[in-house]
Amino acid sequence: MTQNTQERIIKILADQAILDISDVAMQSTLDDLGIDSMALVECIFAIEETFDLEVPFNANEPGSGDFDISTVASIVSAVERLLTRQPT
């Protein structure tokens, strides 16, 4: 499942950044990928749609809250955390 989550998030970020999947590294930041604030809210939306969950994210304070967007890896683990919290 972890691999699957990671692959799907990388695909979402790559689509937004118009990059090949192979160009999205786990340590990349959104800046590295060229994902601006508009693209970021699209990414959040795509993550919510893909995983059917609610991402706690406020564009006024993108850095605050539980959802760590500093790197690809941090986004993946934040999504994984949200997924394990989901009621079954």
Binding site: M38, V41, E42, F45, E49
Partner: protein, 402 residues
Amino acid sequence: MKRVVITGAGTINPLGHSVTQTWQAMAEGKCGIADLDIRDVDRLTVRIGAQVKNYSAGDHFNRQKIALYDRFSQFAVLAAKQAVAQSGLVFDGELAERTGVILGTAGGGVNTWDESYRAVYEAGKNRVHPFVVPRLMNNAAASHVSMEHNLMGPSYTVATACASSNHAMGQAFNMIRSGQSNVMVTGGSESMLCFGGVKAWEGLRVMSPDGCRPFSANRNGMVQGEGAAIFVFEDYEHARARGAEILAEVAGFSMTSDASDIVMPSAQGAARAIGGAIKDAGLTPEDIGYINAHGTGTAANDKTECAAVRNVFGSHADKVMISSTKSMHGHLIGGTGAVELLACIMALRDGVIAPTIGYEQPDPDCALDVVPNVARQAKVKAVLSNAFAFGGLNAVLALRRI
């Protein structure tokens, strides 16, 4: 006061994806009305409309742009690109800072409203795309045009239902006339041919189930269209100094309010706007050779409009040609005056008067020369373009050959 001329024109509408295609279709009396090809059409009573054909957003815009552009913005951006290209203007420095965009639209991003309501109400989803608001806002088209061409002057959107484009172009005209700007990009755009959009119009019971036949005794309502037309308006001296090709002169503009009824038109309000535009242009009724009518094909409009023309023109009313090109491109609501201005330019430039197609039976209440069914060759020196909106807001432009 400065003189104002048109130095660029662009369009995408049910008759074509360019001004040339549109003029050709108008000259040939082609009909852009057909069966609607939209989702859930089987649940509609009105199943015809004038859609923009052979169009795919992906042929013109990348995914990021499409995420931000409702269909009405897409049409505006495409039409503006043609208009600016024709004008030959490049916007930088002071010209960029003083040139603005004034566009008309009645509904703005109606398709975006429709799709997101579907998502939350019909599909029961609890989230919508993040760009719903910037897509649907009425000023989105004007803003995207300003961004595409670096236009940093006075820019806004006018929403006066079916007169939106004429009000917008009238504002742009006055802005140049007064010396506030040398150049303005103006016109209008509309796209409400979606399930919710057509369903709303059905409710009023003014839509025709089978065709748009303005001024014809057997007319039975309006047919909706979609699309955009955008123009570059420019100070005459500015245009001449740079040797620009001039399509026509915008000579006068008048706007009035009926102050009487939210949907029924008034002959007095229309007449005041028609007479006002002629006077503002420094012309007399005898100077006017052609009127592009509002001509919706409803019982109420056509009768009232003909009475207003007769009132203003007196005996000259029998000599002036008046046609409704809505019979071909449908009623583009807030974008309609802009597409209709193309017929006015064609009349002045090429001496081709676009016909009122679908004309089958004379109506004694509309006993004017409505240029029935076939275009006509005629040299005219000045023309009018009428727009009379729901809410009783009237806007008439006067154009002159140059």
